[in-house]
Structure formats: structure tokens, C-alpha cells
């Protein structure tokens, strides 16, 4: 008995986690572009598209629950499915943070272009790289990679510090920019949360492979 049906169901769920990951990644990148270009139409589309991300998450959750009920998996199989339930929640929340950035773009309204975003694009690049790598580690069951990704979270935290310092300095220099810079600090916060949720995925990778749960990198935020 090789459990072909179960293996194929598990494979399809993992493929769908990657699809959800791609939707989330696109939402983050689009949100940053809309922020840079100040495009309200694009932001509204990101906000609208978040409903599709939510729907995809619920669809995967439904199917995972049914596979658990019908196949009664054990050991690594059970841990993989339990991890999928956590990972899709993290991915959906990451997309919510991207939606948050899109909403901030709408709040910034007619702020002059081009916008100076400082360290925010660098933060976004690292967060997206962490997202991609954490899903790769999940698919490959790569514990070493999962641990390395968590180290990258420290760099995102440092970049957030830099954004904060820049924005505070700018507010002091020109109090008229206080609202704008506060919004940018919120963008940095959203990106930091995205990176932090990638470390959650890495913790699930380690749990799936080893059966042990451990918090591997505690964010300073």
C-alpha cells in the first residue's frame, strides 16, 4: 500500500500553498510599487485582490481539514498538514499587511512625487526573499535553510530602525511632514510583520521535519 491518492492530495495542497505564496508575494511587490508611484487605482486593486487571497486560504484550509479527516494521517504526514494550516494563515496575514501598505498609499493622497522611500524598498526586497525561501524550505523539508532565513529577520529589524530614525529626523527638520513620515513608519511596520511571519513558516518547517516546536528567532518588535 503506497497511498497514491493521499500522496497526490498532499502534493496538491503543497502546490496550492505555493500558489497562495505567489499571490502574497505579488501583493507585497505591487503594494510597494503603488507606494512608490503614488497610484491610487493600483492600490484599490490590491485591496480588492486581497479577497481572492482570503478565499484561496479558506479553500486550502477546507481541503486540508478534509484530508486529515478522510486519510487520518500520522507522524510526518500529520505534521505537514498541521503546518499547512498554520502557514496559510501566516500567508494570508502577510497579504493583509500588503493591503495595509496599499491603504497607506491612499492616505498619502496627493503627496508630491517621486516619493523618497529611504530604506523601505530594501526592507521589502528582503521580506519577499524571506517569503520565497521559507516556502522553498517547506517544500524541500530543509531545516538548515529554515534556520538561515530566521537570521535574515534581524537585518529587516535593523532596516526598520533606520526607517524610523530617518522619519523622526525628517519630522524634526520639517514638522509639516509629520503625517507623511508617520505613514511611512507604518509601512515599515507592515514589512517587519511580513518578515516576522516568514520566521513562523520556518518554525513550521523545523516542526514538520523534526517534530519539535521551538521559537527560533524572537523579533525585537
Amino acid at each position: 500500500m503506497t497511498r497514491d491518492l493521499f500522496n497526490s492530495e498532499l502534493q496538491q495542497l503543497q502546490d496550492d500553498v505555493l500558489v497562495l505564496g505567489s499571490m502574497t508575494e505579488k501583493a507585497i511587490m505591487d503594494a510597494m510599487e503603488s507606494l512608490r508611484d503614488g497610484d491610487p487605482t493600483w492600490s484599490r486593486r490590491i485591496i480588492e485582490d486581497d479577497k481572492k487571497v482570503n478565499a484561496k486560504r479558506f479553500e486550502i484550509e477546507d481541503r486540508t481539514t478534509f484530508v486529515i479527516a478522510s486519510q487520518q494521517p500520522m507522524a510526518t504526514d500529520l505534521r505537514s498538514l498541521a503546518s499547512i494550516l498554520y502557514i496559510i494563515t501566516d500567508l494570508e496575514r502577510m497579504a493583509d499587511h500588503a493591503e495595509g501598505i496599499a491603504r497607506i498609499n491612499l492616505l498619502l493622497g496627493d503627496e508630491p512625487l517621486p516619493r523618497r522611500l529611504g530604506y523601505l524598498p530594501a526592507m521589502a526586497d528582503r521580506a519577499v526573499a524571506m517569503l520565497r525561501n521559507s516556502l522553498k524550505a517547506f517544500i524541500d523539508h530543509d531545516v538548515d535553510m529554515a534556520r538561515q532565513i530566521c537570521d535574515a529577520d534581524d537585518e529587516v529589524d535593523r532596516l526598520q530602525d533606520s526607517v524610523y530614525e530617518d522619519c523622526i529626523a525628517a519630522m524634526i527638520a520639517d514638522p509639516a511632514t509629520i503625517q507623511r513620515n508617520t505613514h511611512l513608519i507604518w509601512c515599515a511596520h507592515n514589512l517587519e510583520r511580513i518578515a516576522d511571519r516568514c520566521t513562523n513558516i520556518c518554525e513550521r518547517v523545523i516542526y514538520t521535519v523534526t517534530g519539535h516546536m521551538q521559537e527560533i528567532n524572537i523579533s525585537k518588535y
Binding site: F6, Q72, M74, A75, T76, R79
Partner: protein, 292 residues
């Protein structure tokens, strides 16, 4: 604790001739993962080997079964789990040409040692079988049957009521104890058999796939009953249903027969660990349904 229990009959039992069949050498054994349960030990299986004629069915099985816990034996057909279970109360003695080597100690006493009465062993270590097998007698007679045979001196009515209550059957049969045991449903019959085992005032109850002939509701009732009974008894259960083992047992043993060795214990440990993070790949493959 050693030798605190006297299982000798009035007459001295014939000691079986030493077998010449060779057990697998320790150096030939795979590195199995056998945990040592904490707390008091009811049964200690030590290097147990068993042959049906010249065919070996158990190979160097060693494990300790803790007191007042449910221990599940799982594994594919032919892995030796039922043989091991039947060895514990010497049911294999009833099969011709069975040879046993090694020891099973019950609270320190070697059950296969000289002078041990298998009938007394079976009174203390009761058994419930796969198919409910009540006698063609009334419910009451079924329950007190063993006690009568064993010369029980107490109040039979009280014993029957107490045993049926413990087996969670009393409320369903109390108004008609004269009804035939065979007139009960399958699940009720199995609980009657459990009541019959309990009435002998055993210390250990062995269950050989006790739910395999029952519907899901009756199965869940027996499982609930096991968790209730384990407060007072040591239970060892053989089951093909891994979810059942995961639900009801505290410790689980995984047994396997492969090309080289028949009836070996591969992994033994706390149930939660064995089903979530098994240490041996063969255990993982079996519980994940990838063979067997």
C-alpha cells in the same frame, strides 16, 4: 516485589525440556528503539523467543509493561503481536508444538518458571477476544462462571452487579439478568465478556482486537470503557486500528516481521511520541500507511 506472588498449584508442574532452537544473537539484532516506561512495572518481557514447531514467531522481544496503563501492540499481520499477547497469559500452552525461550515476569515472578499454574496465571491475567464469545447461558451465569469454577466464596449477586457496572453494561441489563448472553448486541456481548473477565478479579486484562467485530458506536463505548478500567487494571491491547491505539493507549509497541527476522519489536514508547515523532523509519512507514 520478586516472588511476592505465588502462582504454584498444589501439584508440581512438569518442567518443559530445554529447546535446542537458537535465538538470534544480540549482535544480529537491529538497533531498535525501546523505551523504558516510568513507574511500576506489571509485566517484564525478557528476550522472549517463540516457535510454532520449527517456525519462529517471536524473536528476542524485550519490553516492560507498566502498571495501570494501556499498552497497545500494533503491526502488520504476522508480526507476532497476538502471539506475544497470548504468551503473556500462557494461552500458547494450549497450542501443540509451541516452544518458548526467554522470560515473562509478572511482578517479578517468571510466568514460565517451574511450578507455575497456568490456570492461576489466566485468572490474574484475563483475556478478551476479537469475537465476543459469551457462553450460551444467562447474563448472570456468564459473569459469575469463572468465579464459580475458581471456588469464589463471596456474594455472587454482588460480584455480578459490580462486574457489570465496571464493564458499563449494568444499566442496560439490570432488569433482565436471566436473559441469554447470546441475545445481546455485539457490543453488549463484548462488554459482557469484559465483565466476565473482571469477575475473576484479575490484575491484567489482555484484549485481542476487541473491537474488530463491532460497529463504530460500540467500538467507542469499549474504548471509553478501557480508559475507565485502566484506573484499576493493567491493559494490553492488540489492535489493527492505529487510530484506536492512538486514542486509548498510553504506550505503544510496534512489531514487524521482515525477510530476516520474524516477530521483532521495532519501537516501543509513549503513544503520543510514537504516533507523532516515531524514531524508526519502519514505524513511520507503517503508521503512515506506506506498508502493511
Amino acid at each position: 516485589m520478586t516472588n511476592s506472588i505465588d502462582l504454584r498449584p498444589a501439584d508440581t508442574r512438569q518442567v518443559p525440556a530445554e529447546t535446542t532452537l537458537r535465538a538470534t544473537l544480540a549482535s544480529e539484532r537491529p538497533a531498535n528503539v525501546i523505551a523504558e516506561p516510568t513507574g511500576d512495572i506489571a509485566l517484564s518481557v525478557e528476550d522472549l523467543n517463540l516457535w510454532y514447531g520449527s517456525k519462529q514467531a517471536l524473536t528476542n522481544v524485550s519490553m516492560k509493561i507498566p502498571v495501570k496503563q494501556v499498552t497497545a501492540l500494533i503491526g502488520p499481520s504476522g508480526c507476532g503481536k497476538s502471539t506475544l499477547l497470548r504468551s503473556i497469559n500462557r494461552m500458547n500452552d494450549l497450542i501443540p508444538n509451541v516452544t518458548t525461550k526467554g522470560r515473562i515476569r509478572y511482578h517479578g515472578v517468571d510466568l514460565y518458571g517451574p511450578g507455575i499454574d497456568p490456570v492461576e496465571v489466566r485468572r490474574r491475567i484475563g483475556m478478551v477476544f476479537q469475537k465476543p464469545n459469551p457462553f450460551p447461558k444467562s447474563i448472570y451465569d456468564n459473569v459469575v462462571f469463572g468465579a464459580k469454577v475458581n471456588g469464589y466464596k463471596g456474594n455472587f449477586q454482588q460480584l455480578a452487579e459490580e462486574s457489570l457496572k465496571r464493564a458499563a453494561l449494568w444499566d442496560e441489563v439490570k432488569d433482565n439478568l436471566k436473559k441469554s448472553g447470546l441475545a445481546l448486541s455485539g457490543g453488549q456481548q463484548q462488554r459482557l465478556c469484559i465483565a466476565r473477565a473482571i469477575a475473576n478479579q484479575p490484575d491484567v486484562i489482555l484484549m485481542d482486537e476487541p473491537c474488530s467485530a463491532l460497529d463504530p458506536i460500540a467500538t467507542l463505548k469499549i474504548e471509553d470503557l478501557m480508559r475507565e478500567l485502566v484506573k484499576d487494571y493493567t491493559i494490553v491491547i492488540v489492535t489493527h486500528n492505529m487510530q484506536q491505539a492512538a486514542r486509548v493507549s498510553d504506550y505503544t509497541a510496534f512489531m514487524l516481521t521482515d525477510e530476516k527476522t520474524t516477530g521483532q519489536l521495532i519501537e516501543y514508547g509513549p503513544t503520543q511520541e510514537l504516533f507523532t515523532t516515531p524514531r524508526d523509519k519502519r514505524t513511520e512507514d507503517y503508521i503512515s500507511g506506506r506498508f502493511g
